[in-house]
């Protein structure tokens, strides 16, 4: 029975093409709204997580078990003996999802130039490995990255402004050393960066790992962290799981942690956005149900004599009900086609060429992740499917009452126009 009802439904929609198109258009716009809005939401989450983990932290970090949350200078990996840094970096990098890994040492102290002195956090990095892990290494504005073994410093634009220095200038660095003494030395500003992250640009100085170890009176085997880059941040939890096993024997006392552990607020934001997707889909299609139901009621009311005729010649109320539902299904197909035509070009274009919104607003951070002023859109595949399901559910739901009514018309009175 589907063949003729499909055809009849289609032709009935064609009787009032303007009304049908208007209704289908409404559903199509609803679909587009759901897909594009969730795409934008996901773009923002991806931007937040991508930048939040990609700029500096990495998607996975390995520490000594007791390092977090205090981040004590003494809690280096492998304790006082330290570890074979290259071996650990190699083991982490061996994970299939890890594309690069690099060791880090953290410290703090003062940086002075002329009359200016600032408190700063120091990050000891391996200049050969770090650029493959953190995107900030590409944010240099002037000068260059510090060189391994050199007393060189790489600082943010804001710190440079406050110290009134730039690439090539000499500064004094003072840092409490592990042995209780106070390390101090002259460093050259190798370069100045601008990451867009206010705190980092104002108070973080990158120093070659070996130079920082020397300043802090630590041997080469002592680092706080190995940071790893994982292209898709959502792979990080599984990598953590794997590394937990891999590192247990050769590097006892180490703890691999995916970004969702050391940046839990990002996970919360992502969950918030995900719940908003549901709100969007429900709100959009609940609004649509009433619009479509109204149109369907009108359309079936206008045709009540035809339904009465159908009943008279032997169509059962059940078949009439189904015929109206079929019509709604056809409407759903038309709507989804329109919706796809409307949605996908916009989505693809938006995904590939996110519009620059810097005329409207600048960088901002969300849960510590930098959001650039672009409208980034990620494809939301489940939402494309769910939106389609919701669209059909809406059309069918909206048809239930009119369909029921059509099947229950009193044929004699209706045919008599009563």
């Amino acid at each position: 029975m589907s063949g003729p009802w499909w055809r009849i439904g289609w032709r009935n929609l064609g009787r009032n093409p303007r009304r049908s198109l208007f209704t289908a258009g409404g559903l199509a716009v609803g679909y587009a709204a759901v897909v594009v809005m969730t795409g934008l939401g996901r773009g923002m989450v991806a931007e937040m997580i991508g930048n939040g983990t990609g700029i500096l932290s990495g998607q996975l970090q390995v520490h000594a078990e007791g390092y977090l949350p205090e981040r004590s200078v003494h809690e280096t990996i492998g304790g006082r003996e330290g570890i074979d840094v290259d071996a650990l970096v190699g083991a982490v990098a061996a994970d299939p999802t890890v594309s690069a890994a690099a060791p880090r040492l953290y410290g703090g102290g003062l940086v002075s130039a002329g009359d200016h002195t600032l408190a700063a956090g120091f990050v000891g990095i391996d200049p050969a490995r770090e650029p493959a892990v953190s995107a900030i290494m590409a944010a240099g504005e002037t000068g260059r990255l510090p060189g391994a073994g050199e007393n060189e410093l790489w600082i943010g634009r804001e710190m440079a402004r406050q110290l009134d220095v730039d690439a090539g200038d000499i500064v004094v660095v003072v840092a409490p050393a592990a042995d209780g003494s106070l390390g101090n030395d002259l460093f050259t500003v190798a370069g100045v960066f601008r990451s867009g992250l206010g705190d980092v640009d104002a108070s973080v100085a990158f120093i070659p790992l070996d130079a920082l170890q020397q300043l802090m009176a630590l041997p080469p085997g002592r680092v706080h962290e190995v940071a790893a880059r994982i292209a898709d941040p959502w792979d990080a939890a599984a990598a953590e799981e794997r590394l937990l096993g891999e590192l247990a024997t050769d590097f006892p006392g180490t703890a691999p942690r995916a970004w969702n552990r050391f940046q839990p607020e990002m996970v919360e934001y992502a969950a918030l956005f995900e719940s908003m997707e549901w709100v969007i889909i429900v709100v959009v299609f609940i609004m649509a149900v009433f619009g479509v139901a109204n149109t369907m009621l009108m359309a079936t009311f206008e045709r009540r004599r035809e339904f009465a005729l159908l009943l008279a010649i032997g169509t059962t109320p059940g078949v009439i009900l189904r015929s109206v539902i079929w019509e709604a299904f056809v409407l759903g197909v038309v709507s989804l086609t329109l919706g796809a035509i409307l949605t996908f070009p916009v989505l693809v274009w938006w995904h590939n060429a996110p519009p620059d919104m810097s005329w409207l607003y600048g960088d901002f951070t969300m849960a510590g992740g930098l959001i650039r002023p672009v409208l980034r859109v990620e494809y939301p595949p489940e939402m494309m499917v769910l939106g389609a399901v919701a669209l059909f559910a809406t059309a069918l739901l909206a048809a239930v009452l009119p369909a029921y009514r059509a099947g229950r018309l009193p044929p004699a009175d209706t045919l008599a126009g009563r």
């Binding site: 032709r11 010649i313 032997g314 078949v319 004699a412 045919l415």
Partner: protein
């Protein structure tokens, strides 16, 4: 209930009503549209219900066809008591046993002439080739060949009624009920339709019951029943056939 010895199933009359009443009540106004009608209509008959406007012709016809329910009394069609059937069963029963022709709004505007004519066969699950060949054959007989693909809006009133008649008889029902099938048509067209139905009556043995004001149709009736105020006041058998 009396049992007539002749009323075995194979010889059951086309229609039998017993003490049939239809009473409408709206806002305290009571209309007795059909009053105590006992009627037996034989198979293969060609029956006209006549009577002034409001005399209950349509109401009686609708009850016989199961489109509305009697207030009192019982109806048997083709040996089957339909009085208490559910809406769905009634519909299914109509599909199998009854053809309808109305004065207007007989066809679905979105279907072609052929699709309208084959519609009841489609509901009954008859395969497309068979439906098509039966309708095409019928269309050739009623002078509708070449118009199969037209929608009702592109057919004359007479042509539309022909399609409706074709749809009513094509399933070989026990009964065709026609409520003013010739109203609104010029006499030449309506005479043609009467000829057509009379022919189907003779050739297929289909029982026809008409409600009409058409004097030509009354003249052609083999049984003539006049209603006044919902009662049968005249019931005349004419053996000079249609």
């Amino acid at each position: 209930m009396t049992h007539e010895p002749t009323a075995v199933t194979t010889a059951a009359p086309a229609v039998r009503t017993k003490g049939l009443w239809k009473i409408f009540e709206h806002d305290g106004i009571v209309v007795e549209a059909v009053r105590d009608v006992d009627l037996t209509i034989e198979r293969g008959d060609f029956v006209v219900l006549a009577g002034p406007s409001g005399s209950g012709k349509t109401t009686l016809l609708n009850m016989i066809g199961g489109l509305s329910r009697p207030s009192r009394g019982r109806i048997e069609v083709d040996g089957r008591d339909i009085t208490d059937l559910t809406e769905s069963r009634l519909a299914r029963w109509r599909l199998d046993r009854v053809g309808f022709v109305f004065q207007a709004y007989n066809l679905l505007p979105v279907l072609t002439a052929l699709e309208n004519a084959e519609f009841t066969m489609l509901l009954r699950g008859i395969p497309p080739e068979e439906r098509r060949s039966r309708v095409e054959e019928l269309f050739a007989e009623i002078g509708m060949e070449g118009l199969e693909g037209r929608r009702p809006g592109k057919l004359s009133g007479g042509q539309q009624q022909r399609v409706a008649i074709a749809r009513a008889v094509v399933g070989e029902p026990a009964l065709v009920l026609a409520d003013e099938p010739t109203a609104n048509l010029d006499s030449k067209t309506s005479d043609g339709l009467i000829d057509l139905m009379s022919r189907f009556n003779r050739e297929l043995g289909t029982t026809f019951i008409f409600a009409t004001h058409d004097t030509e149709l009354m003249r052609r009736a083999r049984r003539f029943i006049r209603l006044v105020d919902g009662r049968v006041v005249e019931d005349e058998r004419r053996d000079a056939p249609a």
